[in-house]
Structure formats: structure tokens, C-alpha cells
């Protein structure tokens, strides 16, 4: 899984103005102190995983785990993608 591609997809899906892939660190938290995403952004990431990779998260706990950082997301996508 290409982290740069994933960062670009996150930026586009969340319409993050003034942010480039270089601004997102692989291990930085996406929510809270890191990129400062909120729970609506989380919903949009749910949809991103579904549309781009055919992954349906089964519950909110899984979402919290997966969306910890770009590295965690990439790892999860690699293991669970269906497309």
C-alpha cells in the first residue's frame, strides 16, 4: 500500500484545504492532536475505505483502531482490501 496515494485520497475525500501529503506524517494521529480530524471526517473515511478498497468496517471500535494513523490505515487496507 502506497502511503502517499492514501494521503492524497484522504485530502481529497475530506476536502482538506491547504494540506499536502507532505504535511501528514505516517505515524501521527489523524484525530485529536495530529491532523485534527473530527467525527464527521471519520464517517467520510469509512466511505473512502468502502469506495476505494471495498472494505466495510464492522463496528466503531474497528474504526478507531484503523484510523489511528496513515500507517495503521495502510496496514489494514493491505490486509483487508477486496479491490
Amino acid at each position: 500500500m502506497n502511503n502517499e496515494l492514501l494521503k492524497q485520497q484522504i485530502i481529497e475525500a475530506l476536502n482538506l484545504e491547504d494540506i499536502t501529503p507532505a504535511d501528514i506524517q505516517d505515524d501521527a494521529p489523524l484525530f485529536g492532536e495530529g491532523l485534527g480530524l473530527d467525527s464527521i471526517d471519520a464517517l467520510e473515511l469509512f466511505v473512502l475505505l468502502e469506495k476505494q478498497y471495498g472494505i466495510k468496517l464492522q463496528n466503531k471500535e474497528e474504526g478507531k483502531q484503523v484510523f489511528q494513523s496513515v500507517n495503521k490505515m495502510a496496514e489494514y487496507i493491505e490486509q483487508h482490501r477486496t479491490k
Partner: protein
């Protein structure tokens, strides 16, 4: 995107015993009598709820461009109408009925035929709760309730909504209700949200309402734009006469949060123009010049 200036959450005032007493009275006393008492009480409410009064005064001065003294009169009429709308909610709990004219129900029927989900947006104008009594979607319809409301109010609303086939999700700070929203839309059901309240995100989208810029919360519009084929409707339930409401359902065209926000702002402008005394966002909603 800015954070909205106010955190007013639209709570229903009053203690549980007051609400219960009002429902009890409405079982035996005609609504018109309660309205008449409210006409006097409203004056005191205006005096003591100064922040609400001030926000409403600014609304008439800057948005409707009324002169100072007429603006005060319009604030009274707004509070009077608001008082009647609140009484009507409790009157329904007490078993009273109102005449309701429905416009645009075919859009709801059409949305129900589709496999994809439907988002219905509304605003704190008129009396949206009445929509639950007339819009009868054939798929499960879910409503988000503000968790900060008093338990008695929440329970009453939940009971009334569920009696009309509307399932409820209590909004709090957890991810759980967001995951529920995801599931509701994935399963092709209907979700109703207030599009003028922060929800899941402090971010906002600028939109022009009645010719002036305002910051609408991004959350409800982001939910509307989540899935490509979701039908996005808006509904406003406006009080026409003492005993009659008019429900307006409109379809919003768009493909993302921004375009849905703009379409919603246009519909909201139309409805506030027609019913200026039924705008019940008691905070400085518009950007300052």
C-alpha cells in the same frame, strides 16, 4: 472554515413538572385559552431572556431591515408565534390535532422506492416535529435527538416520534451514533437531521441566506454528500394559522457538502421570507458586517 460564534443548542426550557402540568392542562383547556395566557407571559419572557431577545432584534434589524421600534414589535410577534409552536408540541402530546397541508410528499414516496438511503434536512423554523405526524416513509426513518435535552423532554419526543414510526438516536460525543448513521444510509434507510446545528464537527460552510453570509454547520451536509445516490430532501413545517400547519418538502440537488449547503440555504431563504416570525435560532446566526 470558521467555528460558529454561538453554542446555543436549542434546548426546551422549563422543568419536568411544568411540562407535565402543561400537557395535563391541554387535555382539559382549549389551546386558544393557553395561547391567550402565553400572549402576556411572552412579554416577561422577552424581558428576562435578554440574549434571545437581542438576537431576534438583530435578526429583524439587519436581515429584514426593520426600523428600531417596528423591530421590537416583530420580536414580540416572533416570540408569540414561538410560544404557540411550543404549546402545539405539548398539545399533540395531550391528544389535540391540527390541520396539516402537505406539499411535496411525492418526493418522499419516490425516495422510498429507491434502494439507496435518504437524508432529510430541516432547520429550527416553524414546528418540524409535526412532520413526523404526516410524512409516513415506508422505510425506517431515524431522527437524531440532542442529548443535552432534559430527560423528560427526550423521553416525550422519543415516545411521540416512535409512535409515528420514527426511530431515534441520541446525539452525544461518541462515535457510536456516527457509526449508526453510516449503517442507516448503507442499508438504504431515511435519516433526518437539523442542518443549522453543529453535528459531529465544529467546521462550517459559508452560505448566503436572505442575502447575507452565514456559517452553516458542515456535519449535516457532509452526511448528505457521503453517498453518491442518496436522495437529499429538506422539509419545513410552518404554522399558517392557529390550528393549521403547512409542510414543504423539497429536493436538494448537489454532489458534495458545499453544493447541498448552498441548495439548502436557497430553500431556507424562501421559507424565512414567507414566515419571518418563525425563525427560532436565538443566537447571532449571520456573520457580522
Amino acid at each position: 472554515m470558521k467555528e460558529p460564534a454561538s453554542k446555543w443548542q436549542g434546548k426546551t426550557d422549563g422543568l419536568p413538572w411544568m411540562h407535565r402540568s402543561l400537557v395535563w392542562m391541554l387535555r382539559y383547556i382549549p389551546v386558544d385559552v393557553i395561547y391567550a395566557v402565553m400572549d402576556v407571559v411572552i412579554v416577561f419572557y422577552m424581558l428576562f431572556s435578554r440574549s434571545y431577545t437581542k438576537a431576534s432584534y438583530h435578526y429583524f434589524r439587519t436581515i429584514h431591515r426593520k426600523r428600531p421600534i417596528p423591530a421590537v414589535g416583530h420580536v414580540y410577534l416572533l416570540f408569540r408565534q414561538f410560544g404557540q409552536v411550543v404549546i402545539d408540541r405539548f398539545a399533540v402530546y395531550a391528544g389535540k390535532q391540527f390541520e396539516i397541508e402537505l406539499e411535496g410528499n411525492e418526493l418522499v414516496v419516490e425516495a422510498m422506492k429507491k434502494e439507496e438511503g435518504c437524508v432529510m434536512l430541516s432547520s429550527h423554523v416553524g414546528n418540524y416535529e409535526m412532520a413526523g405526524y404526516v410524512l409516513r416513509p415506508t422505510k425506517p426513518m431515524y431522527a437524531i435527538m440532542f442529548g443535552g435535552e432534559k430527560q423528560f423532554v427526550l423521553e416525550n419526543r422519543k415516545r411521540e416520534l416512535e409512535r409515528n414510526g420514527i426511530r431515534t438516536i441520541v446525539s452525544d460525543d461518541e462515535w457510536s451514533y456516527l457509526y449508526s448513521i453510516h449503517q442507516i444510509l448503507q442499508e438504504g434507510n431515511m435519516l433526518t437531521l437539523f442542518a443549522d446545528r453543529n453535528f459531529g464537527s465544529p467546521k462550517t460552510i459559508r452560505a448566503t441566506i436572505l442575502g447575507k453570509e452565514a456559517n452553516l454547520p458542515r456535519g449535516p451536509f457532509a452526511v448528505a454528500g457521503l453517498y453518491e445516490h442518496t436522495t437529499v430532501l429538506c422539509a419545513f413545517v410552518m404554522k399558517e394559522t392557529k390550528h393549521k400547519y403547512h409542510v414543504y418538502v423539497r429536493q436538494l440537488k448537489g454532489n458534495n457538502a458545499q453544493s447541498y449547503a448552498r441548495a439548502f440555504a436557497d430553500e431556507l431563504t424562501g421559507v424565512i421570507n414567507k414566515y419571518p416570525h418563525q425563525w427560532y435560532n436565538f443566537f447571532e446566526f449571520w456573520e457580522k458586517d
